[in-house]
């Protein structure tokens, strides 16, 4: 799985970089996002709800993101 390393980056950068990385990818692509910003956990869940994608929290600042919509 592709890894997007956003460790040390502050909100809203991890979510912006994730959206950019997913843009050119086909539906059902998965990305492992690394982010230790305290806002990332709540914001990735809200992002998934708002954009219709899927996020699974893996622990240790890692999230598995699956693209479900364009």
């Amino acid at each position: 799985m592709e890894v997007l390393d956003c460790l040390g980056k502050r909100c809203p950068l991890p979510v912006i970089e994730l959206a950019k990385a997913l843009k050119s990818k086909p539906i059902a692509s998965r990305i492992k996002l690394l982010s230790d910003d305290p806002a990332s956990a709540p914001d990735l869940i809200a992002w998934a709800r708002m954009t219709g994608n899927s996020v699974k929290e893996l622990g240790d600042s890692a999230f598995e993101v699956t693209k479900l919509t364009d």
Binding site: R10, C11, P12, I16, P38, A39, P42, D43, A46, M50
Partner: protein, 329 residues
């Protein structure tokens, strides 16, 4: 009465003898009666605090004993989170619409009830009926929501009726088993003295605020609806926090840096607050937004004042839409 005049007439200590002190005591008693009338408590249940947030500690610590459980919610004020660290406690989780279910409370608990959430405007409809003592956080609701009948202690903030800042009103019910947690030799709740000019100014403010509210409530409600509709219809990827009270509104914008948004809005003449991490001193996102599942990035919190006009709001919304688009580009 203008504020400078209030300072001229209310400088003496109302507890001393002498003509000036007697007139100051009359001013203090009149102020207490004014607050009692508007807040639905007895005047002898009222104390004033120069630091409103100290009221959370005074009220709750006085109601709790070392083994009492404190029941509170995850959208309560952080002051209550801090107090809970020192007692057995139960934190209730809000639903995504902001409702709290108090059914787990038992008749030995001290329960904290927030009538209105100051960040989002969520009005709590649930009422804890099964509890030993009930603390009511009325700091954001002011005079808008009546106290539940079984209240033990309640706290208000003068700014909620557009009074001077730095003044809290704390009521301890005569029926409550409250013990002063501070060292004390007499029955005063707060050692004080609290600024009499501020108390008098706040009493005048609450009178005029309540009178204005009757005429302006409809306008405030219409402005709130207009802002919500505009953000929903015109600004993509916006997340409105659940609300309730018409004077408050919280909205978040995906892919937007809140610090930049608040700064640009301030430059254009609009003072808004934010619950985003980049705007907080501890760099943590708002615990209220996180608890509700609302987006925490790009967040702004709005307060609609009595003087806010439809014209102000129209300009604000256009500036907001344009700024959000620019920051996303």
């Amino acid at each position: 009465m203008a504020l400078p005049h209030i300072f001229e007439v209310s400088w003496p200590d109302p507890t001393k003898l002498g003509v000036d002190s007697k007139s100051a005591a009359i001013l203090l008693n009149e102020a207490k009666e004014t607050f009692a009338g508007h807040l639905g408590v007895r005047s002898d249940e009222i104390s004033f605090l120069g630091e409103p947030s100290l009221g959370f500690y005074l009220a709750l610590s006085g109601l709790l004993s070392p083994n009492t459980r404190l029941v509170y919610s995850n959208i309560d004020r952080m002051e209550i989170f801090a107090i809970a660290e020192n007692y057995p406690n139960l934190q209730l989780a809000t639903s995504t619409s902001g409702e709290i279910d108090f059914k787990e409370c038992t008749n030995s608990d001290v329960v904290s009830l927030q009538l209105c959430n100051r960040e989002t405007g969520i009005i709590q409809s649930g009422r804890p009926t099964n509890c030993a003592e009930l603390f009511v956080d009325a700091t954001a609701s002011g005079t808008r929501i009546r106290l539940p009948g079984n209240w033990s202690a309640a706290l208000w903030d003068s700014i909620s009726w557009a009074g001077p800042g730095g003044l809290g009103v704390l009521a301890i019910s005569k029926k409550a088993k409250w013990k002063n947690p501070l060292p004390h030799l007499d029955s005063r709740v707060n050692p004080g003295p609290t600024s009499l000019p501020l108390i008098v100014a706040s009493a005048l403010a609450i009178d005029s605020w309540v009178a204005d509210e009757k005429n302006l409530a409809e306008k405030i409600s219409a402005i709130n609806s207009e802002i919500r509709t505009y953000i929903t219809d015109k600004i993509p990827n916006a997340d409105l926090a659940p609300g309730g009270a018409d004077h408050l509104l919280s909205a978040s914008f995906l892919y937007v840096n809140a610090e930049q948004l608040v700064t640009i809005l301030a430059d254009k003449g609009f003072a808004v607050d934010s619950g985003s991490a980049c705007n907080a001193t501890n760099m943590q996102p708002s615990h209220v937004l996180a608890a509700l599942g609302t987006l925490t990035q790009g967040n702004i919190r709005l307060t609609i004042h009595h003087a806010t006009s439809f014209e102000d709001v129209k300009i604000f919304l256009e500036v907001l839409e344009q700024t959000v688009a620019e920051l996303r580009a």
